[in-house]
């Protein structure tokens, strides 16, 4: 194989699609690797009971499901589906696919997305019943995170299941032809697939992390497309001939988090001063070239589409207080604070998101006027994730939070519960509000969309008043695709969709 995706000459024929992902997955199986990077591949090979299509929940291996009690869901399985090795999918396999994440010695990477899962049981030849530990309005999405695997195969392969060179057997439209940690992945059409036949005979994935290299690969035709182009590099791709950039809602938020347990960020005036000093308008327009919009809440409007109409969503966001860019106001706030003469602090961002670095540099330049020195450093992604996971000496952090499922409670849930102000959870502000905690529990227990919208709006309003974080901007997600292909309905959850059906020739 070749990292360049072969000679590239086959792409226009339409039988092979050459796609770039950032790096080699650890496994083509969510259990082994749950990164978006891996899921781009995995979602074509493995299917869950449900899936997403244009941000809407869709049946996949389950034809329908019922909530029989606040904590019980019954799934009816699609009949006549076989794995890529020809064996039929049994209810046994489906139950196993849930339960294997919960095993005593499980090292499943997707287990945190199955937090409320208690157990899956076979309750009929084509029926599986799932019980939860507590009511969870967002459970409906969660079967996405437990794709269906063949029990016998997984048990035989053990730890090596889905690893490079190891076996993977799924029910998706593609099956793994080869998988090397260095040379890339080749998927071949799964002839046993129950659904519509995808257009491409093969999909070749190559690993290209560096945006420059990616643009070169697109330019040369070695690669037909790639998701998630870094916003700071978009201009480079815009100039490529024969390459279309497609923009979608990322459902993400770039956010600056203050550790409210640490001086001087325990002082709301300091936090507000930061918020006023952030020139979101200018940054999103001039630096990110319009590929982002100023934000005033952690859950961007796109999240709400499934539970509220656009007018309602507008209403929600206008009701959330905001601190628009205003240096005078920032100065006023700081003057009232415990540190009126300014102070000095430092902040790190992950090297994988250069645009966060740009944002910090812009912010730092404005803070300079307030005599606040913000030292910006770039660190490797791994180190950065340790930094925020350790939950020690947080002081001030920056991150772009990405969606797991298209429901506004997704990011609210990870950011604001006081129970998440601990190690390996991401309430990085150490924000503790009894009111918000209570509202979150209510929201999760509710099954009524209007009610949930109502509660979550209240949460966001409350949080906005406390300013535990500054929501810097809502980024767009951008993908690049070469002629003759185009891509429909691109959005930030591309990795959870059967994205290959969105690719079509012009």
């Amino acid at each position: 194989g070749s990292s360049g995706g072969g000679s590239g000459s086959t792409s226009p024929t339409g039988t092979t699609l050459n796609w770039a992902i950032a790096s080699a997955p650890r496994a083509i199986d969510m259990y082994g690797d749950f990164s978006a990077n891996a899921n781009v591949v995995s979602s074509l090979v493995n299917e869950g009971l449900v899936t997403l299509g244009n941000l809407k929940l869709k049946p996949a291996l389950a034809t329908s499901w019922k909530r029989t009690s606040p904590t019980t869901y019954v799934y009816s399985l699609r009949e006549g589906v076989t794995f890529s090795d020809g064996n039929p999918v049994t209810a046994e396999d489906v139950a196993f696919s849930f339960n294997r994440h919960l095993a005593e010695d499980s090292t499943s990477q997707s287990v945190s997305h199955l937090k409320t899962l208690k157990k899956a049981k076979v309750t009929g030849e084509h029926e599986v019943t799932v019980t939860l530990t507590k009511p969870d309005a967002t459970w409906v999405y969660d079967p996405m995170f437990a794709p269906v695997v063949e029990k016998s195969v997984v048990e035989k392969a053990g730890e090596q299941y889905g690893a490079p060179g190891g076996t993977v057997v799924g029910t998706g439209p593609y099956t793994v032809k080869s998988f090397s940690a260095s040379d890339g992945i080749v998927l071949r059409r799964n002839e046993h697939y129950w659904g519509p036949k995808p257009a491409f005979e093969e999909i070749h994935f190559s690993y290209i992390a560096d945006p420059n290299s990616l643009s070169l690969a697109l330019r040369s035709g070695d690669v037909d497309g790639s998701f998630g182009i870094a916003l700071s590099n978009v201009s480079q791709f815009e100039r490529l001939k024969g390459v279309t950039l497609t923009e979608g809602d990322a459902l993400a938020t770039a956010s600056l988090m203050f550790d409210m347990d640490t001086k001087p960020f325990d002082d709301i005036h300091v936090r507000r001063a930061f918020a006023y000093a952030w020139d979101a308008e200018s940054f999103t327009k001039n630096v990110l070239r319009g590929h982002a919009t100023p934000a005033n809440a952690i859950s961007s409007p796109g999240f709400w589409a499934n539970i509220a109409d656009p007018a309602k969503v507008d209403e929600v966001f206008t009701s959330i207080p905001a601190q628009p860019f205003d240096m005078a106001a920032a100065a006023r706030e700081l003057a009232q604070s415990s540190v009126p003469d300014g102070f000095s602090t430092s902040i790190s961002y992950p090297d994988s998101r250069p645009e966060l670095g740009q944002a910090l540099q812009v912010l730092a330049e404005n803070l300079k006027q307030l005599k606040i020195t913000l030292k910006v450093t770039e660190i490797p992604y791994t180190q950065w994730s340790t930094l925020i996971s350790e939950h020690k000496d947080l002081t001030i952090q920056i991150a772009q939070w990405n969606p797991d499922y298209p429901d506004p409670s997704d990011l609210i849930l990870s950011q604001y519960p006081s129970s998440h102000a601990v190690k390996n959870q991401y309430n990085l502000s150490n924000y503790r509000s009894d009111k918000v905690d209570k509202l979150i529990d209510e929201e999760l227990a509710s099954t009524d969309d209007a009610e949930r919208v109502q509660i979550m709006t209240e949460i966001l309003q409350t949080v906005a008043k406390d300013v535990p974080n500054v929501n810097l901007y809502w980024p767009k997600t951008i993908m690049a695709i070469r002629d003759p292909y185009t891509y429909q309905n691109y959005n930030g959850m591309y990795a959870s969709e059967l994205w290959v059906y969105n690719v079509s020739a012009k």
Binding site: P211, Q236, S282, N286, Q358, V362, E365
Partner: protein
């Protein structure tokens, strides 16, 4: 074969003290960089960090000689401001290496015995793995800052100086003037410091210039890999790495720092070579 027949019979001992145009230019470049390092911010039309978000990635114009970068900062001003960091790091490395190298090299060469063995084993260890690679591993693994990178490079550069000075010291140790001083009754440390070292200073200085050039390139390489320098700093290596992404829009964001690095390094290399040729042979002015 006429070409080969034209070969030199012997090479004239180049008259020292008459630098070529190239050497002159090198010293000019060095002088220029030094001036920028000292007075760069004062000379620059803009502050190196001043942003103008309404004028990002502008092409060269009268207002911005080399255009602006992604945050609307003036590239020309940043190049001028970058001279300071381009000079200080390599300078500290080269001088540090010279100091350590002289100390260890002279001691090893003059004392011999166990001291020499210990020092030279250390040097061998440092030589067993490539310099830049170690720097990458250490700085990368520790996510070191610029100054940590500088520190690592001092440690990695010093063995070269040590080796050279030890060789020279061994050579000097056997020379009659050192033996004469011993017979005269001059104490060893004094011979080393007052007689041998001054003789080797020119060699050291020439080596320091070469080390400077190497360190400049190495630090730039580290910056290119995102190691050491803070983002947004007016550092040539970092600017080149960041400019690489913008080369389509304003190529000067990459070309200018690249040229600055290459020219400065070339300047120091040429000057170092010239000094080597001119100074290192001093003390044995016949033969």
């Amino acid at each position: 074969m006429t070409e080969i027949l034209d070969a030199p019979t012997t090479v004239p001992s180049r008259r020292p003290g008459r630098p070529s145009i190239l050497v002159g230019l090198s010293f000019l470049v060095i002088a220029l960089v030094v001036v920028c390092a000292i007075a760069g911010p004062a000379l620059a039309p803009y502050s190196a960090s001043a942003q103008d978000l309404t004028d990002t990635l502008a092409e060269p114009s009268a207002a911005h000689l080399l255009g602006t970068d992604d945050l609307g900062r003036d590239v020309f001003s940043r190049i001028l401001a970058g001279a300071a960091s381009a000079l200080t790091g390599p300078l500290v490395i080269a001088l540090g290496a010279m100091l350590i190298g002289s100390l260890l090299g002279l001691t090893a060469g003059y004392r011999g015995g166990f001291t020499e063995t210990a020092i030279m084993r250390w040097v061998d260890l440092m030589y067993a793995v490539p310099q830049l690679l170690i720097a990458i591993v250490v700085v990368g693994v520790l996510s070191g800052t610029y100054w940590e990178a500088v520190l690592v490079l001092i440690v990695l550069t010093a063995p070269g100086d040590t080796r050279i000075l030890r060789g020279a010291a061994i050579e000097q140790r056997g020379l009659p003037y050192v033996e004469a001083l011993r017979v005269l009754g001059v104490p060893g440390p004094r011979i080393l410091i007052r007689h041998v070292w001054p003789t080797l200073v020119p060699l050291s200085v020439a080596q320091t210039f070469l080390n400077f050039a190497t360190s400049l390139v190495t630090l730039a390489s580290l910056s290119f890999l995102g190691l050491g320098v803070a983002p947004g700093a007016a550092d040539w290596g970092r600017m080149l790495a960041e400019g690489r992404d913008l080369v389509d829009v304003n190529p000067w964001t990459a070309i200018a720092p690249g040229l600055a690095i290459a020219l400065t390094a070339a300047g120091f290399n040429i000057a170092g070579d010239w000094l080597h040729e001119r100074l290192a042979g001093r003390g044995k002015d016949r033969t």
